[in-house]
Every structure is written in C-alpha cells, then in structure tokens.
C-alpha cells in the first residue's frame, strides 16, 4: 500500500547527492584564473608602452586597481570574482592603450594642422595680397 510512497525519499536523496557533488566539483574545478591574470598584466604593460600613463591615466589606474583586486580575490579563494576582475582589468587596460593611441594621433594631427595653417598664412603674407 505504501510502496509508491517510497519513491519521493529516493528522489530527494538523489537531488541531495547531486547538489553535494556539484558543490564539490565547483570547488575542486576552480583554480586561480592565472590565464586571465596574465592577460590583464600583459594588457597593462602594453598600455604603459603606449604612454597611457600620460594620455589615459584614469583608465590605466582603474586597470591596475582591478588587477590588484583580482589578486586579492585569488588569495581569498574567490576564483569567480578573481576571474571577472582580471577580465575587467584587461579590457580597462586595453581601453587605456586605445585612448592613448587616439590622443596621440589627434595631437599629431593638431600639430600638422597648425603647421599647415602657418604655412598658408606665411605664403599669403609673403606674396602680399592673395591672388
């Protein structure tokens, strides 16, 4: 009469087992996100080479801060957070490099424009009234 009532406890047991397994697996399969951390470090040194310290200081500082946070998260065994912070540090550093390049390119263009304007002005001055 109660033979069918034995199923639910079995099901519960199975769910509990699975949960436990998953938890264990999660802990065991989350090593430090060393690849993401290395990529972030690489991106930061690229940005430094692109003179981001001069042209995109805020972004570069943000990237460094996030990398520090990522390393702290590793120490605290918060690997998921560490991974995210490392990825964020990387994109922030990439942004710093890109903005530095854009700023430098814009500066070069400004100088060229000024040079051209000066040349045109000088030409007109030398030749007297424009023809």
């Amino acid at each position: 009469m109660y033979e069918s009532s034995q199923a639910p406890p079995r099901l519960l047991k199975a769910v509990g087992m699975a949960c436990a397994l998953l938890l264990v697996a999660a802990c065991a399969s989350t090593p430090p996100p060393s690849e993401a951390l290395r990529a972030a470090e690489q991106a930061i040194s690229n940005a430094e080479r692109a003179e981001a310290a001069q042209y995109a200081a805020a972004e570069l500082g943000e990237a460094r801060t996030r990398l520090v946070s990522a390393n702290e998260a590793v120490k605290e065994e918060k690997m998921v957070v560490a991974q995210q912070l490392a990825e964020q540090a990387r994109v922030e550093a990439e942004l710093a490099a890109a903005r530095a390049e854009a700023a430098k390119a814009g500066k070069v263009n400004e100088e060229m424009k000024r040079g051209n304007d000066a040349l045109v002005e000088e030409t007109q001055r030398n030749s007297g009234a424009p023809r």
Binding site: Q88, A98, A102, A105, G115
Partner: protein, 302 residues
C-alpha cells in the same frame, strides 16, 4: 486504496511547491536585458552610425558587438550580468577609441596632402614673384637697351651726318682749292682778280669768291681773315696800301654776298710774305695774291 496510491506526503508536497515557485520567480526576476547592456548597445549604435568612425576599426567593432550580445543575454546571476555589461561597455569604448585613432591617421594623409599643396602653393607663389621680378627686370633691361640703341642710333646718325657734312665740306674745300694749314683753310686767290695797280675786282673773275661766300654762308660758325699780298715792285708803302685795299675789296664783295661783317677781317700785308722769288715773272705772279684764311671752328661750338 487506489487514491492513496497517488498520495504524496505533505512535507514532500510543500517542497515541490516551493521549488516550482522558486523556478517561476527566478524566471520572472531575470530581466531580459541588464541596463548596463542597454547602455553599451546604445553607445555601440552611435558608433556604428558615425559616418567617419563606423568603418575604421571593423575587428574592434565586431568584438564589441559580440560583448554587447553576451551582455544582453539574460543572466540569473546579477554579478555576472554586471560583469558582462562592464566588459561590453569597455569593448565599445575600445572600438570607439581605435576608430578615432584610425580616423586621425586617415586624416593625416589628407593633412599631408594639404601640406604638400600648401608647400606647392608657396613655391608657386615664390616662383611667380621671381618670374614677375625677372619679367620687370627684363622689361627694364629691354627699355635700357632700347634707350641705348636709341642713343646709339642718334650717335650713329650724328656720326653719319657729320661724316656726310665733312665729306661735303671737303668737296667744297677742294672746289675752293683751299689748303688745310695750322691756321685753318687757306684759300689763295690769284692776281687774276685785279688789274695791275688797281684794287677793284675784275668783273667775271669772281666765281671763286662766290664759292667762298656760299661756303661761309653754309658754315656760319667760321670766320675768315682776308690778307692782301703784293710783289716787291713799287714802294713798300704803296704795296702795303694796295694790298690793304685789295683785301678790303674782297671783304666788301663777300659782305655784298651776305656774309656778316663781323666774320670778315681784311689786312694788307704788302710785300712782306712772298711765296716765290721776286726776281722772276712767275715768282712775282705767285706773290701777287689775296689769301683768305678760314679759321677752324672753335671746339666749344662743335
């Protein structure tokens, strides 16, 4: 008994209900898109519709697009959603910065062309100015040459004219049978002009005096000294007087032909300057004469 077969114990029922409710709640709570992703999508759309920037960094824009799509996927974990939105936002920003840098580089080509064009313009203007200067210098040179040529032409004309003049004068001098001496042109008129002992000119013997008058008329800057000479026959006083009167006769004749008195001087030299010996008839004939000395023109006048 049959219905007890499907009876589930109440604790189990509560658990299942809770589970279903949780699942439903989870589904309902998960937003279709995070606000961060929406912001990133909006920024990306602006970048993609910017005519100058949209095509500059295709790879970065593609990555940004993928990141935005990933962020837009519904996430149960709020932290993951925020993370993905953050990544998407930064990827869009990176794409924008790269596009700006590339656009600036593209602009640089244009700026270089402008610079070249400005340089060329400057050079052209310089060349034009130089050409203008050269042209005016050339014009000045041409004008100078023209003036010089004109001067030369004038000088040539003058020289030619004076050559013609000289030749003409020489012809006339030849005709007068005058001799060029230090004193000037000396024209010797023989004793055929006068009868013996007389001071009056023979009519019909005046052709050489007419030529002399014409010559003096043509060269008004020249004056003439008329000297009368005799042979030694007769007394010196007589001869001096005779020679003076003869010289005066010639002067009077020339004045009658229109030569100004101030240009004519008449002197009697008597027998003091013989050309030949008075001991022969030929010598005496040479000595009886009237000399007309036409002075050379003063250099100040010529």
């Amino acid at each position: 008994m049959n219905n007890t077969r499907y009876r589930i114990s109440s604790p189990t029922r509560v658990l299942i209900a809770a589970g279903v409710a949780l699942a439903l709640a989870a589904c309902a709570a998960a937003p279709p898109k995070s606000t961060g992703a929406a912001d990133a999508r909006a920024k990306l759309t602006v970048l993609q519709s910017d005519a100058n920037l949209a095509t500059q960094a295709p790879v970065a824009i593609k990555e940004a697009e993928a990141a935005v799509v990933a962020a837009e996927a519904p996430q149960t974990d709020e932290q993951v959603a925020v993370h993905l939105a953050y990544l998407a936002d930064r990827k869009v920003e990176i794409a924008e910065a790269q596009s700006q840098a590339r656009f600036a580089q593209a602009e640089r080509t244009k700026l270089s062309e402008q610079r070249e064009s400005a340089r060329l313009d400057a050079r052209t203007r310089e060349a034009d100015i130089a050409k203008d200067q050269a042209a005016s210098a050339e014009a000045a040179a041409i004008e100078q040459k023209r003036l010089a040529d004109g001067a030369r032409t004038d000088a040539d004309a003058q020289r030619a004219a004076s050559a013609v003049e000289t030749a003409e004068m020489q012809r006339q001098i030849d005709e007068l049978q005058a001799k060029a001496t230090d004193r000037g042109l000396v024209l010797t008129l023989g004793d055929v002009l006068f009868k013996t002992g007389k001071a009056e000119l023979n009519s019909g013997a005046t052709s050489s005096l007419d030529k002399l008058a014409a010559f003096l008329e043509q060269y008004p800057d020249r004056s003439a000294a008329i000297e009368g000479h005799t042979d030694s026959a007769g007394s010196e006083d007589y001869n001096l007087d005779l020679s003076q009167r003869r010289a005066q006769s010639v002067r009077a004749y020339l004045m009658g032909q229109g030569v100004g008195a101030s240009r004519l001087a008449a002197t009697g030299m008597g027998e003091t300057q013989p050309l030949g010996g008075n001991d022969s008839a030929d010598g005496r004939q040479q000595n009886r004469r009237v000399e007309v000395i036409i002075d050379n023109p003063t250099p100040a006048i010529r």
